[in-house]
């Protein structure tokens, strides 16, 4: 049965338990075997919630060590969680979570992980999914994903009985961007791209092509819904990777998409003139204008009309670069430049 989302969904239960536990009076049950009291239930729930920290540390240790970024992610997640449970319950849960972190830092055995997950299984799937989200977050914190970490995640998902769709959603959110960045930062590596797109290298060509078409539909749809430029650029890159893989599969030829060469810096080059004449402060909102002008290399001795012309060329140049297979850092640089060009254009048009 599906439910329309209420105003308070996830944390209402926790608040109820931890906020009013002293009022509990026990429940009616079998007289020979008393039902657990409200306090016992609250204690069990507290342990179950705190066990999320053990799971988080276990996954962070998946690559063999726990670095600062992983620890920071764990604590940030804990703080955000506590904010949601409300002032009354937060100190108690926070204390239990911190104790769990301290115990886990000495190492999490397989047995402890199993116990932690068993405790968590008494929680609703929504809270277990949050723990799974924490596991993904800590694994992604160092911007690297190793096979051993993926194995840890899969094990945790199995133990927590996380629905496959939830696992895929979290994988998409936390791991895919890292895998995409890794796959596109170096020279094109078809087998890495295939793995990223869920293709088994042993599959026959037709099956690979079918999968590519499905992945194309997915990223094409996501490009339409992506709200920010970075996500759109990422989807656009995926479409290009998919198109290139398909071409390679069909023709047997590797498409030549070498990144656009950078402006030369060797002898004989003519560097753009450095900004020399500052524009009236009132006409350019400082400091954005000047910073953007330096980034784009605008000649400030030129009139606003001339600068607009220059911006158009620069825009075509940066957009042209974006059409190449660029590493994420270079792609981000292109995005930054294009945003700066848009801001400057607004400024110059207002000046004319």
């Amino acid at each position: 049965m599906a439910y329309v989302i209420g105003a308070i969904i996830l944390f209402w239960g926790l608040k109820f338990f931890f906020g009013q536990q002293d009022q509990s009076t026990g429940s009616v049950g079998n007289p020979s075997r008393p039902a657990p009291s409200r306090s016992d239930k609250a204690e069990e729930m507290l342990e179950a919630v705190a066990a999320s920290m053990t799971v988080g540390v276990y996954c962070a240790l998946g690559d063999g060590n726990l670095d600062n970024r992983e620890t920071a992610t764990l604590r940030r997640w804990k703080d955000e969680f506590l904010k949601k449970v409300g002032d009354e319950a937060a100190p108690m849960i926070g204390k239990a979570m911190e104790a769990e972190i301290q115990r886990s830092l000495r190492g999490v055995s397989e047995e402890r992980l199993h116990q932690a997950c068993l405790k968590q299984k008494s929680l609703p799937v929504e809270l277990r999914s949050m723990t799974m989200g924490l596991a993904f977050e800590v694994v992604a914190a160092d911007k690297k994903v190793e096979g051993s970490e993926i194995a840890s995640l899969q094990k945790v998902a199995r133990l927590l009985a996380i629905p496959e769709e939830t696992y895929k959603r979290l994988e998409d959110k936390y791991l895919k961007p890292i895998q995409l960045a890794a796959a596109t930062s170096g020279p094109a590596n078809a087998s890495e791209h295939e793995r990223l797109l869920g293709i088994d290298p042993s599959w026959p060509k037709d099956r690979k092509l079918t999968q590519l078409t499905s992945e194309f539909a997915k990223y094409n749809a996501r490009m339409q819904t992506a709200q920010d430029d970075t996500k759109r650029a990422q989807c656009r890159r995926m479409l290009e990777i998919i198109a290139d893989l398909r071409e390679e599969l069909i023709t047997g030829r590797k498409p030549d998409r070498t990144p656009a060469p950078q402006p030369r810096t060797t002898a004989g080059s003519t560097p753009r003139p450095a900004p020399t004449t500052p524009l009236p402060a009132s006409s350019i909102p400082a400091p954005v204008g000047s910073k953007d002008e330096i980034l784009i290399g605008v000649d400030l001795t030129q009139s606003p009309r001339q600068r607009l012309t220059f911006l158009e060329t620069e825009e075509a140049r940066w957009k042209g670069r974006m059409a190449n297979q660029l590493p994420p850092a270079a792609l981000a640089k292109c995005e930054t430049a294009l945003q700066a060009i848009r801001r400057l254009r607004n400024v110059y048009q207002a000046q004319i």
Binding site: G6, I9, D172, S214, A217, I242, R264, G320, Q349
Partner: protein, 495 residues
Amino acid sequence: MTDKAANIIGIDLGTTTTLVARFNEAGKPEMTNNAEGATITPSVIQIDDSGSVIVGTEAKKFLGTGQPNIYAEFKREMGSDKSWPIGGKTVTPVELSALLLKKVVADYAEQFGQPQSVVITWPANYRNEQREATKEAAARAGLKVEYYIEEPTAAALYYATDTALDGKYLVYDFGGGTFDVTLIEAHGNKIDVLYQDGVQELGGKDLDNALLKIIGEKFRAKTNDEFDAVDCNFDKLAVEGSKHTLSTKDKTSIRLVSAKHGPIVIDLSRDEFEAGISHLVSQAEMACENVLRCGKDPADTAQHVKKSDIKDIFMAGGTSRVPAMQASVERLFGKKPKVKNPAEAIAMGAAIYAAHKASGGTLNALQGQAVANIDVSLIAPHFFGTSVYDNDSGLYNDTVISKGNKLPCREERTYYTMRDNQTKVDCDVTQSAIEEKNCEYVTKIWQGSLELPSGRPAGQPIKVIYSYDINGTMHCSFKDGENGRSTEVNLKPGN
């Protein structure tokens, strides 16, 4: 029927060009000329400092010359919050589209009088907010547009009335800024749209950019310097010109005069151009393959339309003239595509649709006969859903109207409140191009809430009712199943 012919037009409001066709006295669609005597009006606008507006060919001449306040390709920004500053004010894509519509309709009215009925086209993969923005542009242009039609469907209608059709066909519409592909089943003048797909950021302008990249690489190889279009006085029109030449010839040469490096000749071959655009062609091919799946499970091939079931492929849109596009379609389907009036087919189809919709007393006898047997069945262009929660899946997007549902359609779902004494339900309307459970990958086109009376136990039914009419207008309501109170959704821009 009347003795006097109805004055009816269809407008193909394109990313790079806009065309107007009329449904003439003899009941045939025909292209009309603008004030400059051309059938094609470039979708380019210049607004000068005094606020005077130049639309079309004259404005396009200034593209890439450094003239300020030249606006092109604003169709891609429709539905966004983008605006451009101009003389202390701003101008939006909707306002620019309105200026363009005003100009082409005024030019038409000069020759044929004010049209009684107007149909405007939009891309098949246009999102809801883009469709609403187009309606707003038409209203701002002072046009009373009762009907809109998707570009490939309009082209299909033109081909259906021009050629005897009987079976399944594909309309491949590669325009200046968008690519759409639509699967139809047509028997005579009865057309059923079966499914549609497209790539929103794929059009002739992307081919131009790919060509510009090749030119830049060759320039660098010759000069060891970055290509600077301004330095070489090489503008967008020149890129388009080279593209057109390579569509008819195997090679061409571009003579650049660089202020820094002097005269430079760049030789370009069609092979180089085709290699440079192969990833774009491949994207169009995958969209074609996806449309044949009709939104069904990729593994369930029995539910897909087979390539061999497609009787013909009609190519519309100016970019369809590029030989690589035609070769790609032939390679994919194993048959030569039909390329007939690719640039005009959409406007002419829109004029036919306008006549079809206007029938009932306003048409003359010949016009009436021409559209008497037309029957067009449209589909929902996207998946529309709402975010819900259940214990097994957590929060997910649940589809209410599926892409491909025949229009008009109405769907109702019942969900339930989650807890006792719940006094509010958060509601949203989502949109996506594929069936998507993950709430992160859908667009929320509306968000609001429904107030509920207090004191009721969990499990109260909440009815979610969506309907979508043939004109791309969606109506939604979230209704308390117990007391009938509802929240009606207004999906107009800004709401």
